[in-house]
C-alpha cells in the first residue's frame, strides 16, 4: 500500500498545482456533511466514497456490501464491478494493485488498458466530487448571462467534470456537477480528427432526440457551435462536437475516450437535458476552471460593463480619438485592421450630425485557457442623422497593458 500511495498522491498534487489556477476556496478534505446534503446526488460518487471509506477502515465486508449496492443500482458501472472484484478476491489473497485480479483473469494488454482507464475514472470521480465548489465561488467565465439563459454549463476538462450553473438574477448559482468523458487526446482541439475536445465559449445549437441517433450516443445529443467565430479566426476546423450520452453496455466511459465530444452517463444527460435551451445555453469548456470569489467576480464584471458603456458613449460622441482608444492595434475584423477600421469610422462620422447607440441584452463570457478574452454579445440599436440599423453584434475584448481593448467586432 505504502509504496504506491505516495507516488499517486504526488501525481495528483503536482498535476493540480502545475496548472497554477487551482481554486483555493475548495475544501481540501472530505465534503462536509452540509455540502453533501445540500445537493441531490443521483450519481454513484457518494456511494463510491463510502466504499473507499470502508476500505480505509478495513471493513471489507461493509465495503463489499456497499459495492454490491452500487452495482445493483448501476448494473453497467464497470468501475464498481472492478472494485467488487478486488474486494471479493481480497478474501482469498492479498492484492497489490488496483484491479489486479482483473489482470490475472485475462492478462492481456486490453484488460490492462481497461483497468488503467477505470483507475483514472476512479481518481477523477473522487477528486472532483471531494472538491465540489462552494457557493461563494463561481467560474470566472460567467460574467454576464442573458436573463433568458436559465442555465450555463462549465466543463473542467482536467477534472472530467461538468458543472451546471443556474442564472439567479444575474448571479451564477451552482446546481450540480457530473462526471464526463472528453477526447482521447485531451482538450484544445484545433484540427478535424485530432480526437480533442475544444476549449472555448460555445452554446447548444440543437437537440438530437434518441430516435435519430445510434445507440452509441445514448439517450440524446446536444451539438455545440464548434468551431465558433473565434475558432475560425484561429484557423481551427473540425465539426460535430456534441454533448451526448453513453452506449447501453456501459454506465460511463473512461475520462479520455471520445473523439472530442463531451460524454455523460445517460441518467446524467437526461437530467442535464431538462436545463438546456437550444440556441441559448452557454457551454464553456475550460482546461481547468478558474474560480473567483463572488466579490472578485463582481469587480471584474463591473469593470467590463463600465468600459463597455464608455465605448458606447464614445461612439455616440463622434470623437474618433475617444472611440479609437477602445480598439487594439491588433484589431482584425472582416479583413479590416485597426487603421482601416478607424479610418472608415472617421469618414462615416464626419457625415453625421448625431449618433445614438443602444446596447441591449448584453452577455459577457470570458474565454477559458490560454486565449484570454471576453466575448461580448448584444443587440445593437444604431440610429444617426442619416442611417439607422439594428443588429446582433459580437465583440472580443482582450486586456492589453491593463486596459480592455476590442480585437474583433462584427455582426453575428
Amino acid at each position: 500500500m505504502l509504496s504506491t500511495l505516495p507516488a499517486l498522491l504526488l501525481l495528483a498534487s503536482t498535476s493540480a498545482s502545475a496548472i497554477g489556477k487551482a481554486p483555493q476556496h475548495i475544501a481540501p478534505q472530505k465534503p462536509s456533511a452540509r455540502v453533501a446534503a445540500s445537493f441531490t446526488d443521483a450519481g454513484p460518487e457518494p456511494a463510491l466514497i463510502k466504499v473507499f471509506d470502508s476500505i480505509k477502515h478495513n471493513d471489507l465486508d461493509l465495503a463489499l456490501q456497499q459495492s454490491e449496492a452500487i452495482t445493483r443500482a448501476f448494473p453497467n458501472f464497470r468501475l464498481a464491478h472492478l472494485i467488487q472484484g478486488d474486494l471479493l478476491l481480497a478474501r482469498g489473497r492479498s492484492l497489490k494493485a488496483f484491479g489486479e485480479g482483473g489482470k490475472s483473469t485475462a492478462g492481456d494488454k486490453i484488460s490492462s488498458e481497461r483497468i488503467n482507464d477505470l483507475r483514472e475514472e476512479a481518481v477523477v470521480r473522487l477528486k472532483s466530487y471531494l472538491s465540489r465548489p462552494t457557493a461563494n465561488f463561481v467560474p470566472r467565465y460567467l460574467l454576464q448571462m442573458l436573463p433568458e439563459q436559465k442555465h450555463a454549463i462549465v466543463v473542467d476538462a482536467q477534472k472530467s467534470r461538468l458543472y451546471l450553473y443556474a442564472n439567479d438574477k444575474g448571479t451564477p448559482r451552482f446546481v450540480t456537477d457530473y462526471y464526463i468523458t472528453q477526447g482521447k487526446l485531451g482538450a484544445e482541439k484545433s484540427r478535424e480528427g485530432d480526437k480533442k475536445t475544444p476549449i472555448g465559449v460555445y452554446h447548444v445549437t440543437s437537440s438530437l432526440p434518441r430516435d435519430r441517433l445510434t445507440n452509441f450516443y445514448g439517450t440524446g445529443a446536444f451539438p455545440i457551435n464548434y468551431p465558433n467565430d473565434w475558432d475560425k479566426r484561429q484557423g481551427r476546423d473540425g465539426h460535430g462536437i456534441w454533448l451526448h450520452g453513453t452506449p447501453p453496455d456501459t454506465f460511463s466511459r473512461p475520462p479520455k475516450a471520445s473523439d472530442g465530444c463531451v460524454v455523460l452517463s445517460n441518467p446524467d444527460l437526461d437530467a442535464l437535458a431538462k436545463s438546456l435551451q437550444v440556441g441559448l445555453t452557454p457551454v464553456i469548456i475550460s482546461p481547468t476552471i478558474e474560480w473567483l470569489s463572488l466579490a472578485d467576480w463582481q469587480n471584474e464584471r463591473q469593470s467590463l460593463l463600465k468600459i463597455f458603456e464608455e465605448w458606447r458613449q464614445d461612439w455616440e460622441s463622434r470623437d474618433i480619438r475617444r472611440y479609437a482608444r477602445h480598439y487594439s492595434s491588433k484589431f482584425n475584423a472582416d479583413g479590416q485592421n485597426y487603421r482601416s477600421w478607424i479610418e472608415q469610422k472617421q469618414k462615416v462620422n464626419t457625415g453625421k450630425s448625431w449618433i445614438k447607440v443602444d446596447a441591449n441584452n448584453v452577455s459577457m463570457f470570458r474565454n477559458p485557457g490560454k486565449e484570454d478574452h471576453v466575448v461580448v454579445t448584444f443587440e445593437q440599436d444604431y440610429r444617426s442623422s442619416n442611417l439607422s440599423n439594428q443588429m446582433r453584434k459580437r465583440q472580443y475584448w482582450v486586456k492589453e497593458e491593463g486596459s480592455w481593448k476590442i480585437v474583433s467586432e462584427g455582426s453575428v
Binding site: T4, L8, A22, P23, Q29, Q84, G92, S94, F98, A122
Partner: protein, 369 residues
C-alpha cells in the same frame, strides 16, 4: 436469492427439527447405508439409486440415506433432482452444514455463484469452523471476483479461468477423528444444541481480511493551491483468509469427582426441560447468562419457550459428567442425549456454572468439549 431467504425462514420456523445423530448412527441402519455407500464407491450409481430409494421407502425421513441419494444424483449429473434432495434436507435439518455445502457445489457447477455463496454462508453459520465450507467459499469468492472483473473489463474469461474446484462432501457423518479426507471439519456433525440450529455457539472468527482495493485518502492535506487532491486509488496488501481454523477438540481433563450439587442442578434442569416446565428450565440459567447468539435475554427466553412448548414429548438426559470446580465457579462437561418428536441427538456440552444463593446456575452453555 429468494429461495435462500425462504430456506432461512423455514429454518427458523422449524427450530425443533434438528438432526438426530443418534438415529443415524444406529448400527442396523448403518449396515444398509454402508452397503449403499459401497455401491456408490464402485461407481454403480444407478444401482445405488435403486438401493437408496428402497431404503428410503422404509425410512423416508432418514437424513443419511437422503444425503446419499443427493450424492448419487449429483454423480449421475442430475443437478436439479440433487438440489431438490439437498434443499429438503436443509429444510428438515437446518443445522447440518453438509447439505448446504453440497447445494453450493451444485450451484457453483451451474455457475450460480451468488447462490453458492449463500448456501456456503449458511453452512458456515451452522458450523463456523467447517473447513470444507470455508475452502469452498474462498473458491466461490474467487469465481464471483472473476465475474465482477469480466463485467468491469468487458471480457469473457470463462475459458481462461480454472474450473470450479469446490469439494463435494460425500459423508454426512464425517465423524471426529475419522480422518475424512473431503470433509475436514473435526466435528461437522455435532449438532449445535438440540433445538438450537442456526446460531453458532462457538463462532470461530475467520481471520479478518485486510484491504485490497484502491484507497482514497481524502484527508491528505493538499498544497494550498491544489484542488483537494484526494488520494487516488492505491493499493493495500491483504492477508489471505479463506479458511477458518478448525476447532481443536480440547484435551479431556482429568475428571475430578462429580460435584453432587452440580449433578443435582443438572438433574433439575434436564428434568424441567423434559417436563416442558419452561419456568423451571429458565430458572436454571443465571441472570447474567451469556446467550449463545448474543441476543437479549428476553429474546432468548422467548425462543426457548417457543421451542420447548412445541407439541410432543421431550426427553433430555446426560452422561459422562465431568466437573472442574473452582470455588463458586465450575466448568461442567457431559454428553447430552436429547429426544423430541422431531429429532434425537447426542452432543457434548460444556456449561460454565456459578453458585449463587446456594444454587448452581448456568452462565454459559455451548456445544463441544
Amino acid at each position: 436469492m429468494t429461495s435462500i431467504r425462504l430456506n432461512t425462514a423455514r429454518l427458523i420456523a422449524s427450530l425443533c427439527s434438528v438432526a438426530s445423530i443418534a438415529t443415524l448412527s444406529l448400527p442396523s441402519y448403518a449396515q444398509s447405508i454402508n452397503d449403499i455407500n459401497k455401491t456408490v464407491k464402485e461407481g454403480k450409481y444407478a444401482a445405488a439409486l435403486e438401493q437408496v430409494d428402497k431404503y428410503l421407502a422404509g425410512k423416508p425421513k432418514d437424513a443419511q440415506a437422503r444425503f446419499l441419494k443427493g450424492i448419487v444424483l449429483t454423480e449421475m449429473n442430475k443437478p436439479n433432482e440433487a438440489i431438490a434432495v439437498f434443499t429438503r434436507l436443509t429444510e428438515d435439518y437446518p443445522e447440518l452444514p453438509e447439505p448446504y455445502n453440497n447445494l453450493a457445489v451444485i450451484y457453483a457447477q451451474q455457475k450460480n455463484f451468488e447462490k453458492a455463496k449463500q448456501s456456503l454462508e449458511m453452512a458456515i453459520r451452522t458450523h463456523p469452523s467447517y473447513a470444507t465450507a470455508h475452502e469452498n467459499l474462498g473458491d466461490v469468492y474467487a469465481r464471483l471476483a472473476s465475474q465482477a472483473y469480466d463485467k468491469a473489463l468487458q471480457i469473457d474469461s470463462a475459458n481462461a479461468s480454472a474450473q470450479s474446484k469446490l469439494a463435494l462432501i460425500r459423508e454426512l457423518m464425517s465423524r471426529q477423528n475419522k480422518g475424512e479426507k473431503i470433509a475436514k471439519a473435526p466435528e461437522p456433525m455435532e449438532p449445535i444444541k438440540p433445538s438450537e440450529p442456526a446460531k453458532p455457539t462457538r463462532p470461530s472468527e475467520p481471520s479478518k481480511p485486510t484491504v485490497a482495493v484502491p484507497v482514497t485518502t481524502p484527508t491528505t492535506a493538499p498544497p494550498t493551491t491544489a484542488p483537494a487532491p484526494t488520494a487516488p486509488p492505491t493499493t493495500v496488501a491483504t492477508t489471505p483468509t479463506t479458511t477458518a481454523k478448525p476447532i481443536e477438540p480440547a484435551k479431556p481433563k482429568p475428571a475430578p469427582a462429580a460435584n453432587a450439587e452440580i449433578a443435582k442442578a443438572l438433574d433439575a434442569w434436564t428434568s424441567a426441560w423434559s417436563r416442558k416446565d419452561v419456568k423451571r428450565y429458565l430458572a436454571a440459567y443465571a441472570r447474567d447468562f451469556k446467550t449463545p447468539g448474543g441476543e437479549t435475554r428476553s429474546a432468548w427466553e422467548t425462543e426457548r419457550k417457543r421451542r420447548i412448548d412445541k407439541p410432543g414429548a421431550i426427553s433430555v438426559d446426560y452422561e459422562d459428567l465431568d466437573v472442574v470446580a473452582d470455588g463458586d465457579k465450575a466448568t461442567v462437561r457431559f454428553r447430552q442425549h436429547y429426544k423430541s418428536a422431531g429429532l434425537k441427538s447426542s452432543s457434548n456440552k460444556v456449561l460454565q456454572m456459578i453458585k449463587r444463593d446456594n444454587a448452581w446456575q448456568i452462565q454459559q452453555e455451548r456445544v463441544g468439549r
